[in-house]
Symmetry: C2
């Protein structure tokens, strides 16, 4: 079972009750070596202050959440998304993140053109890639669960993400979040196809058999049905040696609890069931 040295906390997990500054202190206090902040958290704290505090506390950054959201209904919308992604890249660089996570976006308002949205995603990543390569910041496409295809991410399988990676070349890989991909009968093959060089992040939480909300009812590791050790064995079998990043959106349960209890539970579950 994994050691705390491999644990990272995605700061969404404690976002309802802690500021980013409090969350950084909290993780350091619990001996958790890494974090993954969201951009609104970074903005609220201030990029420079956030970056300074991360370094002072000796924390690593397993990823910045998130770039992406490429498709738009107008050329202006697309240009805006591209500009915003360049800012996300700068933030990831300033924080010395392992990668910039890309949640690629869904269908533009009023559109049913899924193939068109997917083409916009690929164009958007291609546009960002040049700067990302210069900055040596890996871009991690995160395939999201198919239930988010319309509103959040129209890339929903490892295979699709890797098709995009194949076409774009070096500098782009994938983030493997067990919540999004656990159901996929082609997951093991996808992880093998990604290989060490393209496995840029590994996110954990659990799928609750009775899920009450499409976005905000993720489970703590061990409370659901995902065989996390199995998926971890596939990822690490490829040589992945990055962090196991816990990312839990849970409005009626974990977000309501004392964040110190949440972190203690993450540490315990990571050690015992992951």
């Amino acid at each position: 079972m994994p050691d705390i040295a491999r644990l990272s906390i995605n700061l969404a997990t404690v976002r309802e009750r802690w500021t980013m500054a409090e969350a950084l202190e909290g993780c350091a206090r619990h001996g958790i070596p890494a974090v993954a902040p969201w951009r609104d958290q970074i903005a609220a704290m201030g990029l420079k202050a956030a970056s300074r505090r991360v370094r002072e506390l000796g924390l690593k950054v397993s990823g910045v959440c998130r770039g992406g959201m490429f498709p738009a209904a107008t050329p202006e919308g697309i240009a805006e998304a591209n500009a915003d992604n360049l800012r996300a890249l700068e933030e990831a660089v300033e924080l010395d993140a392992a990668c910039l996570v890309l949640v690629v976006g869904g269908l533009p308002d009023g559109s049913r053109d899924l193939a068109g949205a997917r083409a916009m995603v690929e164009d958007g990543i291609a546009a960002l890639l040049e700067q990302a390569l210069k900055a040596a910041m890996p871009l991690a496409i995160e395939p999201l669960h198919p239930m988010y295809a319309a509103d959040r991410a129209c890339v929903n399988t490892m295979a699709h993400a890797l098709d995009i990676c194949d076409r774009l070349g070096a500098g782009v890989g994938v983030a493997c979040d067990v919540y999004h991909v656990w159901w996929d009968p082609a997951l093991e093959a996808g992880i093998r196809r990604a290989g060490m060089d393209r496995l840029l992040a590994f996110h954990i939480c659990d799928w609750l058999k009775t899920t009450s909300h499409l976005l905000l009812d993720r489970g703590m590791m061990g409370d659901g049905v995902i065989d996390i050790p199995l998926i971890r064995s596939w990822v690490e079998g490829e040589g992945f040696d990055g962090f196991h990043e816990v990312e839990i959106f849970s409005k009626d349960n974990w977000w309501k609890r004392d964040p110190d209890e949440v972190l203690a539970t993450c540490i315990e579950r990571h050690r015992t069931v992951c």
Copy 2:
């Protein structure tokens, strides 16, 4: 755009306010040529009475919902599921249904063994197939949306369903429900691979961009983001000439409305946006 002669109503669409008898009358009154009942509706009306009324009204049955739910935690549970599937088969035969739809089941209680559940599904279908072939009743595996992988169906893509069909041979095909598969980048290829002989049912409704409930918030055709004409063109491009079966679970909207209004809306939307 399609003609009403191709329309079928899955009776779940009007189940909250009409009995099966009322629903059969209602469909006939609206000039809808086909229906697809659920087994609890059939049981409530009585199989013989239901079958008689369907014939009297000149209705076709585009499918019976549903067989399946194969995985279980114990051998007794599996035997029970197999016995129940034989009863489902008899009902489909008595109703002269175009197929028995299989919602294959998810993980047994307490299990995280997805591969094991999938093996149980295949064993269960194989066990049912012998009788189904004798009765000349096609079995239609319905890949369900991946958000149901844990609790309802661990077969979630056309490709996976067709892998099972390939292994089991004649007598097994697929039900293509746009709600479950619209997001799949491999959908067109899957439909082509299925081919006319294995495309046994085509179900329609819509995915609402803002979906409030994992099970009971399906949209009316035209209210969501699915490009139904595109998917229909793929299915009919293979030669499928069966019904377009409307299946809408919608506890806060369509289930609350007057079923006559619901049927009138189905007819109008089928004609104009499908």
